[in-house]
Subunit: 381 residues, 2 copies
């Protein structure tokens, strides 16, 4: 009878309406019926990406879409700038290096954001840069950069801007076209509220030009083949049909709620979580000025074992938070506020956090996180 | 109220029990709960692969697992032999060529099987061959080769044998270890009765040795990382969690029925389909001596438009067959007998085939395909 509440930054909670669709029989993918499905998915995603660019559908996790970006843009020895301020920025670096790019690693302290001016300087010093890789919502640290300002800078150079929006899409604003994001990658299991298995790539004309010139061998993730297939409302390989069918419903749900209303809602939930955490003495991990609304990362008090905390919450009470990654293991906990999560889920998460922290000897007034969050939640101004 | 019966060689019909599991809420993948899931999946797959080798889990379609085999085994300029006797053999060739292998293409006429002796000669002429790529069930033609004999030949050389068992696994016999299949790849949406999205790779010690020496850059499909992760009962990237959860149930269903009983059942269904097709004047496309039990490919009568035939069956009656691919478009139809399909599904498929062929003017006694199939189905000797 234990709850199974995912407050993790991916996979996120799959709402009951989408579970029901995922349990329906599938259809064959080379049929007019499925072509209609592809069409609806592409149209819906274009609204969420806020783009007129091509959208390609891949069957993989989000990292597969990241690989697609790298192997389709960078030829061996091409120069790339990869912003590394956390686990997912690190993934851009690893991908660029794996495929032989001369990779300028722009290290940013965990919890801080890269600035557009830093990227401008790097581009001026390296005018032959082919691509700049950034992360919309760095879930390992809870940071979001000023993508708009970075896009402005990159757009004035021959380089393309590549944004990992795996976690951020449909949770925080990304204006793909207006902000000059040439490639944006995302996945099914974050803001889109579905199980992992599908990934998406949007590509601007500037990106497509580079894709067509790129000499790196690729096959499964060849975006040229994706483009050809998409023009026939098809995918080059058998797609994750079940998730594709449910995605139509997910996109309808988002459309009905309204994308902007969702951004407002997540921002509101984020404020409530932060107020709740502060009320029981938990400090925000990232700089507040660059904190994303996708999730909240807070420091675990020095006398508390963060790994034991999240383990107890999950195994005893069925509420799953994420712990810290790499050097933050045991020192940080992370609570998502995205997808289908509402204010009652957030209060549930905070209640469980209070309970276990209290059991573990952290000193605070029981109920104070809930009270603080409730006050924010009921103040919509 | 129309039926939605998939008699296609992938995706296959997802039985109601598995639809139900696919509709359940998911859990987080970095938990002891999901580790238990991974453990059960790996154990179950080892029984079906008939192997003690490592099994790696990828989130991709079957073609992703094929790419994984190529990029992990072949360094640029390595020599490979790829058997091309249909659409999926062709995929091996394309993959090997894409990644810069010196590829010896062993062309086999569509409908015929490669022989072990031909492969032996090729290996003798090319003793520096690193890998031989074959297809267990070539669904474009309905052919299966003598994998055991080919394995015997390849095992006596330094080359590894790579088998595309995407369609064949759990439908027809493959004894991975006994037949010396160094790499076997498969997917979730064929014999395993689930939607597409997960792929599997088994790797022998001989293959792992080559994987560790391989110089081709790879990241998402890096089997070295899969091995490391698997040793911690983990996956390198977020897996298709929903399908993984349902796969435990699928493997239990197969175990309960008994793998060998399933092979017998599919062979029985295949005989019935062939008898039914013959009774209405449809000729088997492949040589009967090398026909797989995964599906039956038959020639469409000269006066019948095969594309219109399958389209009408699907759009008017809800019964989906596959048409022919490439030069066989409109000339061949393909009916699967795998996964959860039983004799009543087969009779349903034949009944619909009779109905539409009759409407289209093909001359035969209505009911004769059903009668012939029914006679085979009721003669279990």
């Amino acid at each position: 009878m234990k709850r199974n509440l995912l407050l993790t930054p991916g996979p996120t909670q799959v709402p009951a309406q989408l579970c029901e669709v995922l349990g329906r029989p599938i259809i064959h993918h080379r049929t007019p019926q499925f072509q209609d499905n592809i069409k609806q998915v592409v149209e819906g995603l274009k609204e969420i990406f806020q783009t007129k660019n091509d959208i390609y559908i891949l069957t993989s996790s989000g990292s597969g879409a990241m690989e697609a970006a790298v192997v389709n843009l960078l030829s061996p020895n091409d120069k790339a700038i990869a912003v590394d301020g956390g686990k997912f920025g690190e993934r851009w670096v690893e991908l660029c290096q794996t495929y032989g790019a001369r990779t300028i690693v722009h290290k940013v302290e965990w919890g801080k954001a890269p600035s557009a001016s830093q990227i401008k300087s790097l581009l001026e010093a390296n005018p032959d840069t082919k691509a700049v890789f950034i992360t919309l919502a760095e879930t390992s640290t809870g940071v979001t950069p000023d993508v708009k300002a970075i896009g402005e800078v990159v757009s004035k150079t021959p380089a393309v801007l590549v944004v990992d929006a795996v976690s951020g899409l449909a949770v925080q604003e990304i204006k793909t076209d207006e902000w000059h994001c040439d490639i944006v990658v995302s996945g099914s299991h974050k803001g889109l509220m579905l199980p992992p298995g599908l990934a998406f790539v949007s590509a601007s004309a500037k990106a497509i030009d580079l894709i067509n010139k790129c000499a790196t061998p690729r096959y499964y993730f060849d975006l040229r083949e994706c483009k050809k297939a998409m023009e026939k409302t098809d995918t080059p390989f058998t797609p994750a049909i079940g998730i594709m069918i449910a995605l139509v419903e997910s996109l309808n749900m988002i459309k009905k709620d309204g994308l902007n209303n969702m951004f407002v809602r997540y921002a509101h939930l984020a404020r409530a979580v932060r107020a709740g955490c502060k009320a029981i003495g938990l400090e925000l991990f990232p700089d507040e000025t660059c904190a994303t609304n996708v999730l909240t990362a807070v420091k675990v008090p020095a006398n508390i074992d963060g790994e034991k905390l999240t383990k107890t919450m999950r195994d005893t009470y069925g509420i799953t938070f994420a712990g810290g990654q790499d050097h933050l293991k045991g020192k940080v906990i992370r609570m998502a506020h995205m997808g289908s999560l509402d204010e009652y889920d957030i209060l549930t998460g905070l209640a469980c956090l209070e309970k276990v922290l209290f059991q573990m000897g952290h000193k605070f007034e029981l109920g104070s996180a809930l009270t603080a969050a409730q006050k924010v939640l009921n103040n919509k101004s």
